[in-house]
């Protein structure tokens, strides 16, 4: 069970921000390659977003998002209060143009979206979907 207080706070955050990213690390210093890739997609579209670093409270936040959105891995991107997805879905929707449409952003050129190769080689990359026992 998530702490009721934390769950309420997380719900408020999700509802108060048009575009909200839960990520490992910060946009300036992502601590996970998958979080970095979602930041890259958002930045390449010039989207304004709020980012929350989950690392200081990883387990409680897993519990909270698990109860709120049935999703316990990070990154998580919320748009208008709804979970859009993690890295896989965000990248798929970015490539297809659906994400730009959803966010009212311009669709970037394909090469702007995918800097995947170098990002995947990042030594700081941590297991992105680890779920605690």
């Amino acid at each position: 069970m998530a702490e009721p207080e934390l769950k309420t706070k997380v719900e408020e955050l999700i509802n108060d921000h048009e575009v909200l990213l839960f990520m490992k690390g910060t946009p300036e210093q992502p601590q996970c390659g998958f979080s970095m890739r979602v930041v890259h997609v958002l930045e390449s579209m010039g989207i304004e977003y709020a980012a929350l670093d989950v690392l200081p409270a990883l387990d409680p936040l897993r519990q909270a998002t698990g109860e709120i959105a049935d999703w316990r891995t990070f990154p998580q991107l919320y748009v208008k209060g709804e979970l859009v997805g993690g890295c896989d879905i965000v990248e798929e929707m970015a490539e297809s143009g659906e994400l730009a449409e959803m966010l009212g952003a311009r669709q970037p050129a394909a090469e702007e979206l995918t800097a995947k190769q170098e990002l995947q080689a990042d030594p700081q990359q941590s297991p992105p979907m680890q779920i605690e026992n």
Partner: protein, 78 residues
């Protein structure tokens, strides 16, 4: 602890009967996996709900630490 790719495939197939499932190992360590799942059950569902179905099938193996990362690609047949 690693998990056999075949087991992951069986878990997904068991929870989505008739689905076409491919599982591959992304790092050689058997715990960063990629699953490509094509299933009629996905029809009409958002991507996030499609992914939820796949994750639910293998959740126990996340919980026991057998899988660290699972990249999911979903599609509808036809």
């Amino acid at each position: 602890m690693a998990i056999a790719l075949a087991e992951v495939r069986l878990l997904i197939e068991a929870s989505l009967p008739g689905a076409e499932v491919e599982v591959s190992d992304q790092t050689g360590s058997q715990d960063h996996l990629e699953a490509t799942v094509t299933a009629a059950q996905f029809k009409g569902l958002s991507r996030i709900d499609q992914h939820r179905l796949v994750k639910k099938a293998v959740q126990a193996r996340f919980d026991d630490g057998s899988i660290h990362a699972l990249t999911i690609k979903t599609g509808v047949p036809g």
